[in-house]
Structure formats: C-alpha cells, structure tokens
Symmetry: C2
Subunit: 257 residues, 2 copies
C-alpha cells in the first residue's frame, strides 16, 4: 500500500481533505474568483471540453497540473464525484465572531446566515452556494453541530465554500448572544405558522438568520434566545421544504427590497 | 441467482421501479395523503422509532408488511438509501396536456411548472417537493429530456412525486404551443439579466414556468417560443443558484401576492 498522502511517481504530496476542492464547476469558480488559492490541480489525461479549457487557463496562470490515475483521484477525494479534477488549495481562513463584529462594525447592513445541525453535505454545499449568490456577508456554523467542510461540500457549493467568509463557532448559543450584543437581531426560521410570515418580513439592518436541519430543526436553546421567528407560508400537503430550498427562499426574500 | 422480482421465501412479487417509494419520510407523506396508493411495505426487523410508528399506522390501516433482508431491500430499490423501508405503490396516473387543459378550464388561476433537461434525480425530487409545497397545479416534464421517476426521485421529493399532478410530455416544444393556445402565458427562467427581474414579476393568471438544467439551460426552441423570460437578480460572485434552489425561489415569489 502506498502512503495515501504522497503521490508515488511524482513525489507530489496529496492534498489533505480540508485543502481540497473537486469537480470542474467548483474549481472553475475558484479559478475565476480566487486563483491565488490554487496550489495545483490533479487530473487524468483525457477528453472533456470544459476540463481542457480549465486546465489551459490554469497552465497560463502558472498553476501546476499533475497527471495521475483515475483510481488515485478517487482515493485522494474519498469520493467518485471528482469528475477527474482535484485541486489542492491553500487552507481556508476562518473568522471568529469577535473578528467579524469588529470588521463589520461600520457597515450599515450586515446579513449573517447561521446553520444549526445541517449534517447533509449536499444541503450544506447548496446552502453555501445560495448564500454566496445572494450576497450574504458570512455563514456561521459549528462543525460540532453540523457537517465539516469536506470536498463534497465544496463541490456541491460550486466553489462558494472557498469564496464566502466563514465564521467557525464552537458554541452556537453563546455566539447568538455575542451577535445580539453587537447590535444584531437574531431571526430563527421555524416551521411554526405562529411565527411571522417570511413574505413581507423586514429584516433589521444587522441580522443573523438561523436555519436548522429538516429532522431536528433549530435547537430549543437557540429558538429561545432568538429575537424573532419566521416561517414560509405554504399551500401544499407536504409540510416543509428541503432546508436548502427553504434557505434560498429566505435569502431571496431578503434581497427583494 | 434469484429472480430479482419475486421474493423467494414469501412468494411476494417485488415492486417494479416505477411503483416504488423508498425512505421513511416519503412513505410517511404518502401514508398521510394518499394511503390508498400503498399496496404493501417491505422492511427488515429492527429498531427505529419513526419506522415503527409508520409500520404500526400501516398495520392499523390493513396495509401488509413483508419482512425481508437488508440486502434484498437494496437489490429491490437499486440504491442503499432506502432506510430499510420500501413501499410497493399502485401505479401513478399521468395527465396529458389536453386532459389537464380541460380539467382546469374553469379555474381562474393555474400554475404549471415545466422542467427541461433536469437529469439529476435529487434536483428533480427537490423540485417536485417545492412545487407541491407551493401549491403548483401540475408539473410537466418529458422523460426523453430529463430524469425518469425513480425511487430516488420519489425519496428526494419526500413523497411529493406521488401527490402532485404530473403531466408527462413527449415533445416539450409542442406542448408549449398547446398551453399557449389554452390561454397560458409561458415564462422561461433564464440566467440572462436582460430578462425581467423575478422580484416584483407578476405572473399571468394562467402561467407555465419553464426551468432548465444548470448545465444546458432551457433548449433554444422553447426559449424562443416563450412569451416572457425572467431571471433572479443576484449579488454574489458565483453566477447561478442550483436549479432546485432557483425553482424554489421562483415558486415562493409567485406565492407572495
């Protein structure tokens, strides 16, 4: 068995999981918006118009390409969904709540999305992508109560995981209080029709919107600490949207004004 | 090798793929909203609070439970994501455009969601779920230009695939014309900022909203035939939402009034 973190033929180290992005779309977005983050690209020889175009752009920018086997890429990524492209990226930098509050103190409008218990990597990725698309200032999440930033998350996010500011939190309930002391209104998205309707809801200039998992929702302590709660009125028989869809709707409604 | 469509020990036929729903949530929704569709449930002996609760409810209603092995369930479903529950359901009935137009002729407001080239089963499922949640009157799609209704779609849709009226179409472009002749305005969702903004957009009383795949979008012929086009204004660096999120946003905006 080869050491899974060293590429035997070329003596190039394999990227650790938290410094890896897979898939053509995610790597393309990263190349377009943060090319300095790309250390090198692992791929296999072969066709694929979009892939070739991306590799050419990388080569022009001086980002090294390492050719390896499909099997190695799958081992490297721990998933078969790499589309023959694995990027080794420079480590992410995370903010803590204090740093974020200092950084945005002078900003008139600040919108933070906080995630509670989002364990599904595809939902996590889709939420990061929506958050980036709708110009959310940061996503706050706790890897103790949610999914870690895996290569599958990065791919599902279409690279947004590498572009959007991330606040890594150890205790979500404590950080809710910190945001409130920093002048933020904390809004919990619930399935409860006794909450305010999200249609027509006016978010405060500084808002933390908390969304929870489909199964478990938002933990009771955070629901209790929240200043307000909202729900999305629905007209079907099935009670609730998938959390990634619900979050996209809430973020879009915030962008209406 | 056993015949994969007959259960050897109990002489119970395995459900064909198009008469199968998997997963606890999807089967629960079906039980709650269309129990007459359930022929029988296949499961394994074992724990799981939600599962037991569901099985008890089924037994009370006289829906037979067949105990089998985990391995058989996986073979039956063609996927490991069955959560130990596979339901054999009575076949879906589909509408054609003509039937649907006749059925809704007297209805003042009718909203149809048309899907073009949605091949990813999880996106297809999530879109069906959003459509059901937001009270869409029917979803029209062509299995020639999109995903078929597989057990994974049914699960991702949380059972919505079995509840929402479905219009199965062989030629999407032809059906666009049929809807237009029936008094419908056809609106294409595009990524093109020259389209009308979805924020503040007023849908006609009878509307067909067409959404396309992320990669390919809506086929040019349908774009050309559409009466209007809309896009979702975004403020991030990444150009586009995932199609399931984008569709949820467009459906929510339609529910605003």
């Amino acid at each position: 068995m080869n050491d899974p973190h060293s590429y035997p033929h070329r003596n190039v180290k394999w990227p650790p999981k938290d410094q890896m992005v897979i898939g053509v779309h995610a790597i393309r977005e990263l190349f377009d918006h943060a090319p300095e983050r790309l250390i090198r690209i692992f791929t296999v020889k072969g066709k694929g118009e979009r892939k070739s175009e991306l590799l050419e752009s990388c080569e022009k920018k001086g980002i090294p390409i390492v050719y390896t086997s499909l099997d190695d890429l799958t081992k490297m990524a721990g998933s078969e969904s790499h589309q023959s492209l694995v990027a080794h990226i420079r480590g992410r930098s995370f903010l803590d709540v204090k740093e974020f509050l200092e950084k945005t103190e002078e900003q008139e409008r600040v919108f933070v999305l906080m995630l509670d218990q989002i364990f599904d990597p595809q939902n996590f990725g889709a939420i990061l992508r929506s958050a980036e698309c709708f110009g959310v200032d940061a996503v706050a999440w706790s890897k103790n109560r949610g999914c870690d930033l895996t290569p599958v998350v990065a791919k599902s996010s279409c690279g947004a995981s590498e572009i959007i500011p991330l606040i890594r939190i150890s205790n979500l309930a404590d950080s809710v209080e910190k945001f409130q002391k920093g002048g933020f209104e904390v809004v919990a998205a619930l399935l409860d029709p006794k909450s305010e309707s999200a249609f027509g809801f006016k978010y405060a200039p500084k808002t933390v919107l908390v969304v929870g998992s489909e199964g478990e929702g938002i933990q009771p302590l955070i629901q209790k600490k929240a200043d307000r709660s909202i729900y999305i009125p629905m007209s079907g028989k099935i009670g609730s949207l998938n959390v990634a869809q619900a979050t996209a709707v809430l973020l879009a409604l915030n962008n209406l004004d």
